[in-house]
Symmetry: C2
Subunit: 176 residues, 2 copies
DNA sequence: ACCCACATGTAAGACGTTACATGATTCC
DNA sequence: GGAATCATGTAACGTCTTACATGTGGGT
């Protein structure tokens, strides 16, 4: 099966977050926090918005649009598509956690907790795996000496996972 | 100007790290730590190795190769290319820090320190930027309530940067 | 008038994935 | 002998980047 496209859902999420947006404004959004996790250039965005109109996921808002700009708003169908995508379980690969989290506005949305718990599971498994690798590869200090860069990035990854797991747990606690 | 290709340098680095590798072994490498930062499938690797032979960056090692597998070794020219790439300054975008670090074997290689200092600079600037953003967007608690997902990923990014800066500083200290 | 930011669009090419193919060796 | 893994290669396709192109509106 072909891999699921991500871009249309991001556009959907961005539009949904802000109620209405122009293509240009969407391209600007990638300079903000969303840009930490994804990027798209205007040459992708405009054709994608066209396709989404064809699919009935968004529509142009006649009220606010003028000769210069077209504002897009999300349709009910688009909302369903976004919701369905957000609710698909997270996978170890393609790491969509932050991206999806960005599109959950309400602290008490059940999706919030669900996402964090899923990610926690993935990160914990990955963390164990990295610890195994470190044990396997770098038990002797001579192994460290001969591949110091490799040793460092493995150590860094372990720290990163550990910190992130801690953060996820803190947030989960916060949510209760 | 066209963006610099990364794949050939990764293959160069992997071959250099292990002295000699087959295309198949390279593809397996992406299941290990290097896979945290980059991936390539065999359908990319084999043609790339051919191109690199044409460019004189690698050569097949007749000694160890047989009917089944071809082992590749790095040439002097390849070593120069790898070294040049490793020494190009890091950029905020395309984040090649971990990748490059992975290819530095010796703790006392001056490149080690250089990479970490460069990355430290980039991360510090980014950290400041994120703090600014948080101040700008989430000064009032009502702003947090209405965009909680956004708030969380920004907070998470700040934590991540902070932890990574700390880790980089620790490593730098270690190197002295 | 000119420049710049705003705003949108298309086309060519690079890069990467999935799928299609083939053959050798090892393990059961 | 059949399945799984090793090992290499090519083709079709989708995605994303870079570059080319055009027009509007506001400021000086």
């Amino acid at each position: 099966m072909p891999k699921k496209r991500v871009l249309p859902y991001i556009l959907l999420g961005l539009i949904n977050n802000q109620a209405k947006l122009t293509g240009y404004q969407i391209s600007q959004e990638f300079n903000n926090e969303i840009g930490e996790f994804w990027h798209a250039s205007h040459s992708q965005i405009y054709p994608e918005l066209q396709r989404m109109i064809d699919d009935g996921w968004v529509m142009s808002d006649e009220e606010s649009s003028d000769s210069k700009s077209t504002y897009y708003v999300i349709t009910d169908k688009g909302n369903d598509a976004l919701s369905e995508w957000l609710n698909e379980p997270l996978s170890e690969k393609d790491d969509l956690f932050s991206l999806k989290l960005y599109f959950v506005k309400d602290k008490h949305d059940s999706l919030m907790k669900k996402l964090i718990q899923q990610q926690l599971k993935i990160n914990s498994a990955h963390y164990s795996h990295l610890l195994e690798r470190k044990k396997l590869l770098f038990s002797k200090s001579s192994d460290i000496e001969s591949s110091y860069g490799h040793y460092l990035i493995l150590s860094s990854a372990i720290e990163r996972e550990s910190n992130h797991i801690k953060w996820l747990n803190d947030v989960l606690e916060e949510l209760k």
